[in-house]
């Protein structure tokens, strides 16, 4: 029992005051009666039958004193200490990371954490304020210094766990910063400490973040058993798609289970089993999967904590790979290497121009030769040396002056730095309709790109050997840009992403309409320009679809990318957050204390600031009841 306003005890003086008033009031009137015989008999039987009636003559006094004492008691504000807030201003931090989705005993850790936080809020004493921080990818302050329990609870209920990671350090720093601005602040952390380990192995006892004021860590959950899909990679091979699935066992028990591979259309493609030792990983390979734009791997294991990481989507690597033919009579090691590095094309090398119809390639690269007729496919022409009916070749000229990018915002010029590049001589050609100049040096046109007879063409006027371009960082970037632009599938596949992170999505240039479909089926049209788009991945895992429609009326290009939970979140083993706090309130150094109920942790010192349930209103209500009883007694004349 605590007394929050012991100073009001002075009001107890009302008790002797009432008693004094009673003594003054109790003026007995003398009445002479014929005989008190009957009265004696009356009182005898009266007191014999009802011994408590002796008290009744003072019943009103007693009731008044009781009411007065209760009122004083209410003024003193007694409170029952509860596991509640730890300071006058308590900063509640709730972890909403993916590991909080782990289920333990029918409840997710997040539900447990919210329930504990709810308890703390409900036991909030009056005058105690609460700041609510959601420790998400970025810490977010939901409520600042609110004393209204209802609002705090509402904000608390509005929190939801997300599959993403939590930046615990940032949340701790924010909480610490808020705590340091206000005297008497404390931090309560509701979470599992999972995700990024704040404590470096070498200095595990040292605190990661310092917080001025008490800090209490409420561990939500204790289970470590979890099996997760660590990685799921698919690659389109010559005999169907090959898949590679890595299953990680984060728990302390060996796990067995089944694997199912589904296609995009939810058809079961393959099944398998796995058996993983504790703390180990197992890799399972799948072969000859039917071609699909995306695959889904689902594992099922017993005693699995986190269900959200049992499923992974994979977009086959190399899907939409174009066929490129490099025609280089002289051979060009730089070019060969660069094209192979780009990786989105399958490169065939020819030393001479193919005679006749050699079939179509997605990309033709002519190095030092010029075909008489444009072949089917896009063309990268390097160092032309003769005039054809499509190329007004005018000879070779010395290059003077620095190279300058004409259209820096062109997709081909993206990230390419031409300043350090030098060229000795370059071919000169007349103006070709449909082509635009990208790089020039002085009067010379060095690189041009555009559409010729419906084909994309890039012309590099100089021989790579006549330039230091291959030695510059600009070269692979430019080659990448060029090949990407020239590839029939215009962009590289979008890589996998983590929820909440920013993902650079390369866009098909010139697409008129882009629609992004989220895993939950909602679609959002994208109104973005350029070739890449920085996509803030929402807190949803699964397969995302980007549909792009080009102007030409061709079939819309659908591209997929997968968003997975962070591997760190799959490791659901709870960790103690150790924080160097002004007053250690509940953070126990013993690692085992994480097993204990966090609410049961002892509160050292600072008892006044601990949560308490005030009894003031109850006592005041009781006093009112007694006043009412007294009124009744008075009315009935007892």
């Amino acid at each position: 029992m605590q007394w929050l306003a012991l100073g009001n005890l002075g009001f107890l003086l009302i008790v002797p005051a009432i008693a004094a008033l009673y003594l003054l009031k109790r003026k007995v009137e003398d009445v002479e009666v014929p005989s008190t015989l009957l009265w004696q008999r009356t009182l005898q039987s009266w007191e014999a039958v009802r011994p408590w009636e002796k008290l009744q003559r003072n019943l009103l006094l007693l009731l008044q004193l009781l009411a007065a004492i209760l009122l004083v008691l209410a003024l003193v504000r007694p409170a029952v200490p509860m596991a509640g807030a730890i300071a006058e201003h308590t900063i509640l931090v709730v972890d909403t990371s993916g590991s909080m989705l782990a289920r333990e005993g029918g409840q997710t850790r997040f539900q447990r954490a919210v329930a504990e936080a709810e308890k703390a809020v409900e036991n909030l004493g009056s005058g105690q304020a609460v700041t609510l921080i959601e420790a998400g990818r970025e810490p977010k302050v939901w409520l600042s210094k609110s004393t209204e329990k209802e609002k705090v609870l509402q904000a608390l209920y509005s929190l939801a766990p997300r599959p993403g990671e939590t930046d615990q350090r940032a949340a701790l720093s924010l909480a610490g910063a808020i705590a340091s601005t206000e005297e008497g602040s404390g931090v309560m952390w509701f979470g599992d400490g999972g995700g990024e380990d704040l404590h470096e192995p070498g200095q595990s006892t040292a605190a990661a973040v310092s917080i001025p004021g008490p800090f209490r860590f409420h561990a939500a959950g204790r289970s470590t058993e979890n099996v997760a899909v660590g990685a799921f990679v698919t690659q389109t091979g010559s005999e169907g798609t090959e898949g590679l699935l890595r299953i990680d066992n984060h728990g302390s028990q060996p796990k067995k289970g089944n694997i199912s591979i589904f296609g995009l259309d939810q058809n079961l493609l393959d099944v398998g089993t796995f058996s993983v030792e504790a703390g180990a990983s197992q890799t399972v390979a799948f072969e000859r999967l039917p071609a699909m734009p995306a695959y889904r791997a689902v594992i099922a294991a017993e005693a699995d904590g986190l269900a959200e990481d049992n499923e992974a989507w994979s977009v086959p690597y190399g899907s939409g790979k174009g066929r490129a033919v490099l025609v280089s009579p002289g051979g060009n090691r730089f070019l060969h290497q660069a094209l192979q590095t780009v990786g989105t094309v399958e490169l065939e090398t020819e030393t001479a121009l193919p005679g006749g119809k050699s079939g179509a390639a997605d990309l033709w690269i002519f190095d030092g030769v010029v075909p008489d007729k444009l072949p089917e496919g896009n063309i990268l022409l390097i160092a032309p040396d003769k005039k054809t009916d499509w190329l007004p070749y005018q000879g070779v000229a010395e290059v003077t002056g620095d190279l300058e990018s004409v259209q820096a915002d062109d997709p081909l010029m993206k990230y390419v730095d031409w300043r350090e590049v030098h060229v000795s001589k370059s071919a000169v050609w007349g103006s070709i309709p449909g082509l635009r100049t990208l790089v020039r040096a002085g009067e010379n046109e060095l690189i041009a790109a555009g559409t010729l007879e419906g084909k994309k063409v890039v012309i590099i006027g100089f021989d790579l050997h006549d330039s230091d371009l291959p030695l510059r960082p600009a070269f692979p970037i430019f080659m990448q840009n060029a090949v990407t632009w020239l590839s029939s599938v215009q962009s590289v596949p979008i890589g996998p992403a983590l929820p909440g992170e920013a993902l650079a999505v390369s866009l098909t240039p010139g697409a008129a309409k882009r629609v992004l479909t989220l895993p939950d089926g909602t679609s959002q049209p994208l109104d973005v320009q350029g070739t890449t788009w920085l996509f803030q991945v929402p807190e949803q895992t699964g397969l995302y679809r980007l549909t792009e429609e080009t102007d030409g009326g061709s079939a819309p290009v659908e591209r997929y990318f997968a968003v997975h939970m962070s591997e760190a979140e799959s490791d659901i083993a709870p960790r103690m957050l150790r924080v160097s706090s002004g007053k250690a309130a509940g953070t126990d150094n013993d690692e085992d204390s994480i097993e204990g109920d966090a609410a049961g942790q002892s509160l050292d010192g600072n008892a006044q600031a601990t949560g308490a349930r005030e009894l003031t209103y109850w006592i005041a209500a009781l006093a009112l009841l007694i006043v009412f009883v007294e009124w009744r007694v008075y009315r009935r004349g007892y």
Binding site: D30, P34, S35, L37, T42
Partner: protein, 293 residues
């Protein structure tokens, strides 16, 4: 004659009344009293004014001849009835509206007058804890004035104790007869033994309990200290409804106890409210109780 004592107008009505004695209902004396009434005795005792319904044979024609007025001759009975009136003069009798003593004196006057009219011997004793005054063996209507004067002179005094009073010398005359005790019967020491003692002296006892409204239905409020008028002792009470209910119950119980006691002893007890008009008490209450006829 004290005018306040009895209304002259109904003295004549009282003359036709007769104090009854249960003793006369049995034994040989019954005949004697009756025969006296029929005038069988030859010993002249008194005249009485004629009232319609009287036996014409009792008329004294000689007197009529002399005075022209009708008188009935009364003859003395050999067997006189002794009527003894005990009047409580303790201080508690001084309360009530009218005071209990006044009512008691009036009743005594009426009863005594009735008895005198019937040639009974009338003795009056006033007592508190002892006999403080007495008037003995009155007989004949001509003694009425003496009786009335005596009664009018009575006043309240002292603490009442019936037993002690009755056991004091000269309190009982020793002749069988009718005894009426006019009191509130609120004696600290009780009344039972005293009444039994009185009964033992061959008295046909009748108890007349006088209680004022103040005693039956007190209208007290608040914190009170009740001071006994006789002993002067105080009793503090805090008046509540429940307590008043309890008090009324006590009063009823007390009266019931008196009636029960009387019933067991074979005597009659009459409960008189002081505020009841005297006429009503005499002609209705006493009649109904069988005290007079």
């Amino acid at each position: 004659m004290n005018k306040h004592l009895l209304d002259l107008a109904w003295l004549s009505r009282l003359e036709r009344m007769q104090v009854l004695s249960r003793r006369l209902a049995s034994g040989t004396q019954v005949g004697k009293r009756r025969s006296r009434q029929t005038g069988s005795s030859l010993e002249f005792a008194d005249y009485r004014a004629y009232a319609p319904g009287d036996d014409l044979r009792q008329l004294d024609w000689n007197v009529y001849a002399r005075s022209g007025k009708l008188f009935v001759k009364k003859f003395l009975d050999e067997q006189e009835l002794h009527v003894t009136l005990y009047i409580d003069c303790s201080k508690s009798m001084g309360y009530g509206e009218p005071p209990k003593l006044e009512r008691a004196v009036q009743l005594a006057a009426a009863l005594g007058y009735i008895s005198l009219c019937h040639l009974d011997y009338v003795s009056v004793y006033a007592f508190d804890r002892e006999i403080i005054a007495s008037l003995r063996n009155l007989q004949g209507k001509n003694k009425a004035a003496q009786l009335f004067d005596f009664l009018a002179s009575l006043s309240v005094r002292g603490t009442g104790d019936l037993e002690q009073a009755l056991r004091s010398p000269g309190a009982v005359h020793g002749k069988p007869g009718v005894s009426l005790v006019l009191s509130d019967f609120l004696f600290e020491s009780g009344y039972e033994d005293a009444i039994a003692y009185l009964q033992a002296t061959r008295q046909d006892v009748t108890l007349v309990q006088l209680l004022s409204r103040e005693e039956r239905e007190p209208a007290y409020q608040g914190e009170l200290r009740l001071i006994d008028s006789e002993t002067g002792t105080g009793k503090e009470i805090s008046v509540t409804h429940a307590l008043m209910d309890e008090y009324r119950k006590t009063v009823r119980d007390y009266q019931a106890a008196l009636a029960q006691f009387a019933y067991r002893r074979g005597i009659s007890a009459v409960d008189v409210k002081t505020e009841t008009p005297l006429e009503e008490v005499v002609f209705q209450v006493f009649r109904q109780a069988g005290m007079i006829r």
